[in-house]
């Protein structure tokens, strides 16, 4: 598969510097798991972080701190490392699979209009994270965003007014965009959608039932 839509430098550096909150970071990490090119870019960004750490002006004196560290090292033995259990194969990559608690075949979907969704829980108050399954050839309700939306395609593909997005592709849409994503006709499109506030659906009917659906 060829990924055409990558992380932009703003997102990559915000993620590398720890300045991106958990919800957005989950979208970034999902793309990274599917894109070796961006993993390479992340390595460059982290190398820049390391180089900056080397040339930062040191603060504080060492003696007391070294004694305190040695004492802690003696007091607190290294906890045993629990070997990580991994399945032989998987469709949804980490870290998303752990967030969902299951791989693709075992997900519990909830119907929302013509689509299905799963809410993904994070500690992050500023974002809303959902996994969406859009039926082949069907649109998701037209919406404009109150703010940013990051969408990462896991399987299938969708297109909107901007472009076409296939497996691994990430779309970074700002609040100015009202778009109508439509799943390609060949298969359902499963994607991770992170928004920074509940979507404002432009269809009045959808807006009326929105509180009932909890979307």
């Amino acid at each position: 598969m060829t990924i055409r839509h990558h992380l932009n430098d703003d997102l990559l550096i915000a993620y590398a510097s720890g300045n991106l909150s958990e919800g957005w970071s989950l979208a970034v990490a999902t793309h990274l798991a599917m894109c070796s090119t961006c993993r390479q870019s992340l390595a460059v960004a982290e190398a820049a972080g390391g180089a900056l750490l080397e040339e930062i002006e040191p603060v504080g004196s060492d003696e007391g701190a070294w004694e305190a560290l040695k004492a802690r090292l003696g007091r607190e033995p290294t906890p045993p490392v629990q070997p990580k259990v991994r399945p032989a194969s998987a469709v949804i990559p980490e870290p998303l699979r752990s967030y969902l608690g299951a791989d693709l075949a075992d997900l519990k979907w909830r119907r929302v209009g013509t689509a299905h969704q799963i809410r993904v829980k994070t500690e992050d108050q500023e974002t809303q994270v959902r996994l969406l399954r859009i039926p082949a050839g069907k649109p998701v309700p037209e919406h404009s965003h109150g703010g940013r939306e990051l969408t990462v395609v896991l399987t299938g593909a969708f297109h909107d007014e901007i472009d076409e997005f296939g497996p691994g592709d990430i779309e970074d849409a700002d609040g100015s965009l009202t778009h109508q994503p439509v799943a390609n006709p060949e298969e359902d499109c499963i994607c991770l959608a992170v928004t920074d506030k509940p979507l404002r659906f432009t269809s009045r009917l959808v807006r009326l039932v929105q509180p009932l659906l909890g979307i």
């Binding site: 900056l52 040191p58 560290l69 990580k84």
Partner: protein, 198 residues
């Protein structure tokens, strides 16, 4: 202690320490619980990790605690350090950063699992080969030396000060578009520098 350097640009004037053998020290810690190597690493990086955390938290006591946590994590995770995956200073940076996120922001940091069976391994036709850690460390440093001060300032602010472009823009008295384009330029040059030397 290495000579301390103030202000920018300092990359070309920086003292040779923290040494070029940071990676060797981490390997020694992993191989034989080498206390001398650990102490040397602490004397180089402890005060730098503390300085980084003070920038991020603006709280001296919290920074001291998190610096100790970072140093403990370096001791415990030394066996996971893989020179093929990047420079040692980057490895130390990511440990300090993750401890800061965990403690200060109280959020998890979603990150890939390099051994996940679902991780893409498609070799892109122009995928860069893995590079020697020491080589890439040197390459990053050289590339950063060659960046204009205005670009390195923006990279430093992005990593060590305020996250948002609007805050960086306000601080420097620049339009947001300028901040973004400088960051992109700077980062593009770093990437190109690493691609070239392979």
């Amino acid at each position: 202690m290495p000579a301390q350097i103030k202000g920018m640009p300092v990359m070309e004037k920086r003292s040779p320490s923290p040494g070029e053998d940071i990676g060797a020290r981490i390997v020694a810690i992993a191989a034989s619980a080498d206390m001398d190597a650990y102490e040397a690493l602490f004397r180089d990086f402890g005060p730098r990790i503390r300085a980084y955390l003070i920038k991020m938290t603006r709280d001296a006591q919290v920074s001291e605690d998190l610096m100790q946590e970072t140093m403990l994590a370096i001791w415990r995770k030394a066996g996971q350090y893989d020179p093929a995956r990047g420079p040692a200073s980057a490895w130390i940076y990511t440990i300090a950063r993750n401890i800061w996120i965990d403690a200060w922001r109280r959020q998890r940091r979603p990150a890939i699992d390099p051994d996940d069976p679902a991780l893409s391994i498609e070799p892109e036709p122009d995928a860069p080969k893995q590079i020697e850690a020491r080589q890439s460390q040197e390459a990053v440093r050289r590339a950063m030396e060659r960046l204009p001060a205005e670009q390195i300032d923006i990279i430093r602010l992005s990593f060590f000060e305020e996250a948002s472009h609007s805050m960086i823009a306000a601080k420097l008295g620049l339009p947001i578009g300028t901040v973004k384009s400088r960051l992109r330029l700077a980062f593009g040059r770093l990437r190109a520098a690493l691609d070239e030397q392979q």
